[in-house]
Symmetry: C2
Subunit: 332 residues, 2 copies
């Protein structure tokens, strides 16, 4: 059985539930034989490597290391779930600052140890921000960094299928753009439910109240999993982020929105979920088309993300926007 590529894929945060699932997923998809697992926590990391050795994947060359230089050297593709989880007593700002600093270090390590990396997927929270910081400090091109942003869309797809009692496959082009959760901008006019635009069903087949409740379920999708399962979602973020890397390797197209650096006059100096295409040449975003109301929602989402970005600038993790191009000449 052939692999999609022979180039090295490094999984950062591989000792965790998401990272270990990503490694298994990438091996099962036969993306590349050369998978390097990195995590600062050695014993759990070795345990994950042992699990994968015991799977006896044919042709696989699985390595693991707690040395970030060794992990990133020669990597063509990198996925990072290596952020910190929110701990008791931590404020939202503590978490933001902690993960922003982790992203800064991650970006610097990318620049130092794998300047020839082709594509990087960032999935630790808040990914719109950590991805942006990674891009800036990594010195990468905007086309080389994506963040996990599809779960709002797939959760919306799932909730719509349940509501209308149809197969999720009958929900087409289901999309949210901009920020995540509360901040997501649902594009109902372009989402088709069994062939009909969702916007035409809201207020009719689906009363406004039901639609609001449904959106709440999407927004609370991650929290709902914690309530049900007693642990954060890990299977879907792992699977989806590896699908993104697969597309960047030239594999199966990725068909959901991804977080991407946007600077197009309307939205500037920001990383957010957009309509994208991920290919071997990297990620490219397209204009999103919706009703004026949907664009207003996206504008609000963008403004919220700008505030978050500015908070990180105020914290000193990122320099002011006009200084970004000094750190990364690809951002003019």
């Amino acid at each position: 059985m052939e692999f999609l590529t022979n180039e090295k894929l490094t999984i950062v945060g591989a000792a965790g539930m998401i990272g270990s699932n990503m490694a298994q997923t990438a091996l099962m998809m036969r993306l590349t034989p050369n998978i390097c697992l990195y995590d600062p926590f050695g014993p759990a990391l070795e345990g994950v490597a042992e699990e994968l050795y015991h799977c006896a994947f044919e042709g696989a060359n699985i390595t693991w290391t707690t040395d970030i230089q060794e992990a990133l050297t020669g990597a063509a593709y990198v996925v990072s779930s290596g952020g910190a989880a929110r701990k008791a007593g931590m404020t939202r700002e503590d978490l933001l600052k902690g993960n922003a600093q982790i992203a800064e270090e991650f970006g610097k390590n990318l620049k130092a140890y794998c300047p020839d990396v082709k594509h990087v997927v960032v999935i630790f929270n808040p990914a719109d921000i950590t991805g942006l910081i990674t891009l800036i400090y990594g010195g990468l091109k905007p086309s080389q960094v994506t963040t996990l942003a599809a779960l709002d869309s797939t959760r919306l797809r799932s909730e719509l299928a349940k509501y209308f009692k149809i197969s999720p496959d009958e929900i087409r082009n289901c999309r949210t753009y901009g920020g995540h959760g509360e901040q997501m901008a649902v594009f109902a006019s372009t989402t088709l439910v069994a062939g009909k635009p969702l916007s035409e069903l809201i207020g009719k087949e689906m009363p406004e109240g039901d639609w609001n409740d449904l959106q709440q379920r999407v927004i609370q999708g991650g929290k709902h999993i914690i309530d049900l399962r007693g642990r954060s979602s890990f299977q879907s973020p792992a699977y989806i982020s590896i699908c993104m890397i697969a597309a960047a390797m030239g594999g199966k197209p990725f068909t959901y929105p991804a977080g991407v650096y946007v600077h197009n006059g309307e939205f500037n100096h920001i990383l957010m979920a957009m309509e994208t295409e991920i290919t071997k040449e990297g990620v490219r975003y397209k204009d999103v088309k919706g009703t004026p109301e949907e664009h207003k929602k996206l504008q609000e989402s963008y403004e919220h993300l700008c505030k978050l970005r500015d908070e990180v600038i105020a914290m000193g993790v990122l320099p002011p926007i006009d200084q970004w191009s000094k750190l990364n000449p690809n951002l003019k």
Copy 2:
């Protein structure tokens, strides 16, 4: 993307770490769109289902239920990881009796709700015994039941590769038969290490002491993962058991030993790891060939399993052997 079959696959114990990984693995392998998740623990089960919905697997029809009748009705393939874990204060006998009773109920449920099932894979401990009980109470043919037994072989493969500093792919035909862990019978004469029989390397390239240590590492492979990772192995048992089901569906051949009911004059009324072939017609075992010393080890392993089986008979979970055919006419 096509599926291997459209027939229903039921995963028993799907709320757990192994079961939830099995579901994701089966969907990623595109074995069948029709996957039913069963577990008595509803909330965690729903959480797993939500995770899978959020993966947005194309064409998938994932259902979940806490009703075993609904779960098994119409199932063509069933994998069960639905045993109890050893809890503090529990003796080995408590665990054996508990899981033996779970297997009895599982077998009776199979007979009642899916008499037309094609293949069943049992993986909860001790699988040689729980698989045997499932076979007897399920009224199935011996060719319809296999148990997970490959991990000793894949762990041995991994340890040999590490020891000789070669790729695991250069270890061929790596096999242990009979029971699990301490009881495994390693067939070193038929295992090839970079083309040479392992038996010829022991005492030479690999001193006896190193070989004994290496076998201990294989035997302790599961415990080692618990020590490293703080949780039982779940990725490798899930992946390997789904590879077994894939073979039973007519998919990719499964190339490691499986637990199978053996009654061949030499070994009788027992379920243990053998050289097997799993196809759409079920599992078939072959004679194992080794040195007299290897056969002696296999004989000892068999005798240990007979004791364990007789313990379960003494507990009253299984009737005496001469009564088995009354429960299952396929066992003469």
